[in-house]
Subunit: 338 residues, 2 copies
């Protein structure tokens, strides 16, 4: 039989109220009693029962993690890493993380995650692109939440973002430092705010550093709408090559694109980086193990998760706090494609 708070109280010769107070590190207990209770707790290897304390406290002790189905199951492990960061951070606290996926075209009344429907979480983090009606619903119901690597323009929310702008700027700068003069950009699905920022950084850096030849700076740009894949990279580099404009480097909005670009370049017998240097963004697992290893902007995914967790817990404990934006820095990892 596992010990209960009563057993501890009797064993230590105090009341259960006192035991509760010391467990929760609250004032109102003398140093000696506190000490006494603590030792009997460890002696009997006592752990308070979650359901009991939650019931009394009117909390759930859970945090939800919601991610778009496709992002979790198909794309590179970007958001899985974020999740891991959260899970790691949660180990020091008392929260458990409940991971679930949603579809993008999701119906607030029928597709609602169980833990939201039944009120089984104290807050939630939304990773990556998520349905806007979900966000609206959380707002309306006043459930604390934070957006991770996503942003809804014109709305004030808790969010933790990647420093996409400085990452993009650094990318171009690094390429310039290596002597590249004509730097292309290949992007995609610019409806994701991260991608948009990377593109904005690119155009600014090109201008600032007086790179490229045309004056609009847009001749060496390729962008499309659909979800980003390697194939889009292939498509993009071919479109750019067909223009027959000088080009000695390409900055891709993410690593997946970059890998597609390199594959195609190799197929067409271009040497990377001798003929054309390639720079990615994200530093996904595949980037490190690609041949040749990809130079890219490293995004600390675990840190994104940790920060989101911290921000969420702060918000739960202090509901009146104004929505905050936290930005996670990035840096360039030079490998062999530049």
């Amino acid at each position: 039989m596992k010990p209960t708070i009563k057993i501890i109280a009797k064993q230590a010769g105090v009341s259960t109220a006192t035991v509760s107070l010391v467990m929760n590190e609250r004032p109102g207990v003398s140093a000696e009693t506190r000490e006494l209770v603590k030792t009997t707790i460890t002696e009997l290897n006592y752990h308070p029962k979650r359901s009991a304390s939650q019931l009394a406290r009117k909390q759930t002790g859970n945090i939800g993690f919601i991610i778009w189905e496709d992002h979790f199951s198909e794309i590179e492990m970007f958001y899985s890493q974020c999740f891991l960061g959260i899970e790691l951070a949660s180990r020091d606290s008392d929260y458990y993380i409940l991971l679930t996926t949603v579809k993008l075209d999701f119906n607030t009344s029928t597709d609602l995650p169980r833990f939201l429907k039944y009120g089984d979480v104290d807050g939630v983090v939304l990773a990556g692109r998520v349905p806007h009606n979900l966000v609206n619903m959380l707002e309306k119901r006043k459930i604390p939440f934070v957006l991770l690597d996503y942003d809804i323009p014109g709305k004030l929310h808790n969010k933790v973002l990647i420093d996409n702008y400085s990452g993009g700027y650094t990318a171009v700068q690094k390429l310039a430092e290596k002597g590249r003069k004509n730097i292309a950009y290949i992007g995609g699905s610019a409806d994701h705010p991260s991608i948009k920022e990377r593109y904005r950084a690119y155009t600014t850096a090109i201008k600032d550093l007086k790179l490229n030849v045309d004056d609009t700076n847009l001749d060496l740009v390729y962008q499309t709408e659909p979800e980003i894949t390697r194939e889009i990279g292939t498509e993009g580099i071919n479109a750019l090559l067909a223009k027959n404009i000088p080009m000695d480097a390409v900055f891709c909005a993410n690593d997946t694109l970059a890998i597609g670009v390199i594959q195609e370049l190799k197929r067409q017998k271009y040497e990377v980086p001798q003929d054309i240097a390639v720079m990615g963004f994200d530093d996904i697992y595949a980037a490190r193990f690609h041949t040749p290893p990809l130079t890219t902007i490293h995004v600390p995914k675990m840190d994104l998760g940790k920060e989101a967790y911290k921000l969420l817990v702060e918000t739960i404990n202090n509901p009146e706090q104004r929505p905050q934006t936290r930005v996670i820095g990035v840096d360039c990892i030079c490998r062999e494609t530049t």
Copy 2:
């Protein structure tokens, strides 16, 4: 204020006991009362509070999902898919899934997942390779568990496995049907039981189908110990090529190896599949989007998860049930590398 069982009871003019009985679909309530209670429940949109019912029931309502850190964060999304299968299956029930990672060299007393330490789960599924001392501990503490795609020889446990043997056999058979006569095998880390089975199927099929030229059938085999990567595939195909033995196909123990093999083959100007056909195993995401798309043995990862979930729940509800082994079938998906 969210409705409680009391409100429902008052509203329906019955006792809370009756409400509880109908919620839990238990006998002892007349059809009319049952109907009455049900409608008031939906009318007031009542959901019982988890912590309260758990406290009363002495259950946690949670299931743990434990996976080796490296498997979750670095390798292809194989086990993430299994997790998703479990999560999906859990949506019809009342369990929440708690995902956590462990290291392989893990200390039962210091590294124990929180939910195990504090008794916050009713059972756990262990995905892929896990520390044996963890398994022993679960056994000792009589915590229900099931192994997913893992097996500890000589022990009787609940487990759900891939039909690796018939998958491996099918792989060779398909290759033979396409007219291949000299089929190589590239494997790795044969301490994982799945890999071992695939290899066993290979050797048997080669013999049965009277393939290959040597009589031991082992000339075209390459295996190594370390964790499987693309590089091992590259290494393996080079070692095989160096032998200068006729070879018109290679069956790889998994897709990652196969992709490494194809890359190297392409680099050396071999045509795939004309010169050498390549067959993988697992059907990971990358297999489908590889150029050329990889022929492979499709493993229904979600189904693995679902079955593990079902088996675990059965075991929780019926602790005396004998340990069971469930095998999930596989089939060959012919794409362009054979």
